[in-house]
Symmetry: C2
Subunit: 153 residues, 2 copies
Amino acid sequence: MSSTPERTHVRQTAPFRWEDVSLLAYKEDEGTHFKGVTRQVLFPGDSQLPVQWRYFEVAEGGHSTLESHDHVHAVMIVRGEGAVLVGTRIHRLATGDLVYVPARTWHQFRAPAQGPLGFLCLVALERDKPRRPTAEELARLREDPAVASFIRV
Amino acid sequence: MSSTPERTHVRQTAPFRWEDVSLLAYKEDEGTHFKGVTRQVLFPGDSQLPVQWRYFEVAEGGHSTLESHDHVHAVMIVRGEGAVLVGTRIHRLATGDLVYVPARTWHQFRAPAQGPLGFLCLVALERDKPRRPTAEELARLREDPAVASFIRV
């Protein structure tokens, strides 16, 4: 019988925490462009399945960075509720909802005033770095009053 | 402002059912090698993120096919509990647990006697077909009494 040297089972040790999975800062840099976000890498990806499967949690009142990149996101909300800007549309989100963020599309997740927003997010292992809007792009985004009142930068 | 023609938000309409996501048979063929399993494709994959994100649900007393293939699985249990054989190890599973199924490794998921086992399962979009054990491979698997009593074929 073949042995299975790889780690084949990782227990959830507490709600939305896993055995030997580190609670990481959302991003390496600091700033006011995000607030109250943590990151955990549930599946780091390998040559046979070159994707990263991450769990992000946005604390109440918090938000991810308003950003855009060439790579896409497939997302499932698994804790709480919140909202997301994708392009020029704002979606109210409930637990279990799915979100797809196309390439080169401005997006930002926001937790509600009370309670966290937690979501699974899939990305390609090889991907470009996100970028934030220029002053000009921000002005253009703000032409839409709903978008203007939603975004946090 | 750019339009976002892609579907960017899919609501969960009932527990573990989604807007415009079909409830599918687990496999196209029939047989006794699986029991009480449904499949839903949450993210079909595209050229930029060439993976499929599926939700499988095994009804109480049911099981997936005992099978092996070259591709790998990254799995998260999201409903109920159960157990899985991976290689020669049997893991008891609770909601939130993660499972990794390496390449060319026999595996089978089983729901408990009461209540379903639901899990998210990631696979590469391009992948080989699963195969079932030969009589000889089955005999070898059954040399381990724990494995012998676990597997359903």
